[in-house]
């Protein structure tokens, strides 16, 4: 099968992008459709122009494909790096992956940029020609969502929590501007935020062909739009950022809600989980323990400071400081978490 590569320029910044088709194409189909596809893309992306295009065999694109591990048959995980978003990593910092059924594929999360999402798309296409029917977004954060358009072009329906669409719409400009600044023009090239097509209000089962995925939306925890995905076949739950390993947890929802959720993780028969950051596989439910431990201590210390009458400014200087342990990016995230926890818990 063949993929279409188009050199696209925005001002003076040019890069060769992968433009997926809704169905895999052979060489003749790729070449017959390439003009329409590249012109269509440029029409939808203001400022870009086509500089060149070619159809190449998927086998030759191995070095552009994301590295994935098949942790269970048909269940692939790509481990993001545990480091800040930057031009070098193009924002490849979140765990992503895909699940292959008899009839279709579901991709989970899309990375921070088009570049990262294209790599994941090529990883899918190097394993299977089945249609990519779904892109499942675990929550709104840009390191999990900004590459989504690649999968929309590949024909996927974008599904998230029912609260996802509004949450992303209201942050779209800010996320775009922020990531553009952090990634730089090269790594951000071609990235355009798209919103989810449909939301899950409570739970829903989707079928990939002899493979059911149970989607579950949760009350406000890491964010107000967290979604978990349970693949019964591999006995694995995709936790999104409800579970962090290695990378310091980031609180952008409700500390009370998050603690409650992790304390009550359902015994649903799952054995494994995929955390949002850190190692791509952990035990279910024990993999949540470090996150739960951090949040519980953070909440305790915050409540204590509030009870002692400490103002936010005073409390921020010490809350959670002794919880550093082996967490990475601690100095960036802990004070922010402490702020979030304080302004939530001061209302108790």
């Amino acid at each position: 099968m063949f993929e279409l590569l188009v050199t696209l320029c925005l001002s003076t910044v040019c890069a060769e992008r992968v433009l997926p088709a809704a169905m895999p194409t052979d060489k003749a189909q790729c070449e017959a459709s390439m003009n329409a596809r590249s012109t269509g893309w440029v029409k939808a992306h203001e400022g870009y122009r086509v500089k060149g295009q070619r159809c190449v065999a998927i086998e030759t694109l191995d070095d552009r494909a994301a590295k994935t591990t098949e942790t269970s048959p048909g269940h692939f995980v790509h481990e993001g790096l545990v480091e800040p978003v930057g031009p070098k990593n193009a924002g490849d910092i979140a765990n992503t992956g895909f699940i292959v059924g008899d009839k279709a594929v579901a991709v989970i999360d899309a990375g921070s940029s088009r570049k990262v999402a294209e790599a994941l798309y090529l990883a899918v296409r190097s394993k299977t020609q089945l249609p990519i029917r779904y892109l499942l977004l675990t929550h709104m954060h840009p390191d999990h969502t900004l590459g989504a358009e690649v999968f929309k072009e590949a024909g996927a329906e974008i599904v998230g929590s029912a609260a996802l669409q509004q949450a992303m719409a209201s942050r779209a400009e800010a996320y775009t501007a922020n990531l553009k600044r952090l990634l730089g023009d090269d790594a951000f090239h071609g990235t355009k935020i798209v919103l989810s097509d449909r939301g899950v209000a409570d739970s829903e089962t989707i079928d990939l062909g002899q493979r059911e995925l149970e989607l579950r939306a949760h009350p406000t925890a890491h964010t107000n739009n967290d979604l978990t995905i349970y693949d019964k076949t591999s006995s694995t739950v995709w936790m999104g950022d409800l579970v962090f390993l290695t990378h310091t947890p980031a609180l952008d929802g409700s500390i009370v809600g998050w603690i409650k959720l992790l304390s009550e993780l359902r015994k649903n028969g799952a054995k494994h989980m995929v955390p949002g950051h850190g190692p791509g596989r952990a035990a279910y439910p024990d993999g949540a323990k470090p996150t739960l431990g951090y949040l519980t201590s953070l909440a305790q210390q915050t409540r204590k400071a509030i009870k002692a009458g400490e103002s936010l400014n005073t409390a921020l200087k010490h809350i959670g400081q002794d919880l550093r342990g082996d967490w990475k990016e601690f100095d960036e995230f802990n004070p922010r978490n402490a702020t979030s926890a304080y302004v939530e818990l001061e209302w108790e």
Binding site: A177, N178, R181, N224, G309, N313, F333, R336, V343, W347
Partner: protein, 286 residues
């Protein structure tokens, strides 16, 4: 217009801090010589100065106030600041304007203080769009104008404008809470003139108008608390005229001299005309 402003501002470069004021042991250093985040010169203030202080001479506020704001704020939606009047200043501050120079709506709040506020002790929180100075401009009852400021590096950039949970924010709008702080060593007293400390918290999303409605590209209109009046019995403690640079769920922690009235009444109004009133009986000294 303000949307473009906010977004353009996101691309701000890291500003370097000026060298710290130096000094040797021979002279007594002014109290602010060790402040890590002195105000920096900037374009925005040139226009704001007239709006905030007219042509008044700006005296060095460090002489009568201590002003605390973080060197770096990790949550740009919630940047705490506190203003504390030095006890020996001999001034009565009648008005105080808080300005975040480079925000889309720079004047965060203007406070008019009643006499019962005594020496001003006030803490609140502001939103930050970009790295910026925050300054307090104080007018005394005798007509002098003092200014004090800090430079804050806000790391959150622009992802600051939105409620964590919009629906919750709307359904709880107008709820209030008043916390009393008691010095555990102080003798319990009802005596008039006793200095007390409280924190007033008001639930309100203080919409910036940068949020987008679901499924459209239309903006939600800004909606924020533009007026708050806090009274102790019949005496006004302060009136605030505010903008959306005050953080979501506005919080004001302050000290006042008790007049024995026994209750604080708060009136708040937002830009849509919604009014919220609560009366809180005081327990301190009982």
């Amino acid at each position: 217009m303000k949307h473009q402003l906010a977004i353009a501002a996101c691309a701000t470069l890291l500003l370097s801090l000026p060298a710290q004021a130096g000094g040797t042991g021979q002279f007594v250093l002014p109290p602010y010589a060790t402040i890590q985040n002195q105000i920096v010169a900037g374009e925005a203030w040139k226009d704001l100065r007239e709006m905030v202080a007219g042509d008044a001479k700006l005296l060095d506020g460090e002489e009568i106030l201590s002003f605390d704001a973080p060197v770096q704020a990790f949550d740009a939606a919630t940047v705490p600041f506190s203003i504390s009047q030095r006890s020996n200043s001999g001034k009565r501050i009648a008005e105080l304007t808080v300005v975040v120079d480079d925000n889309p709506m720079p004047i965060a709040a203007k406070f008019e203080f009643g006499a019962l506020m005594g020496d001003i002790h006030l803490e609140s929180r502001v939103r930050y769009d970009v790295f910026s100075n925050i300054r307090a401009v104080a007018k005394t009852a005798s007509g002098e104008t003092y200014m004090v400021g800090r430079f804050v590096k806000a790391a959150g950039g622009c992802s600051t404008a939105v409620s964590r949970d919009l629906n919750v924010a709307l359904s709880t709008m107008g709820q209030m809470k008043l916390k009393e702080f008691r010095d555990p060593n102080a003798v319990s007293t009802k005596a008039e003139g006793t200095v007390r400390e409280v924190q007033l918290m008001i639930r309100h999303p203080n919409f910036t108008g940068m949020q987008v409605k679901t499924g459209t590209l239309d903006y939600i209109d800004p909606r924020f608390l533009d007026k708050v009046v806090v009274k102790l019995g019949d005496d006004v403690l302060f009136r605030m005229t505010g903008g959306f640079s005050i953080s979501e769920n506005p919080s004001f922690r302050f000290k006042f001299k008790d007049n024995g009235a026994g209750a604080i009444t708060v009136y708040a109004r937002d830009t849509e005309g919604a009014e919220f009133t609560h009366t809180f009986p005081l327990n301190s000294g009982v």
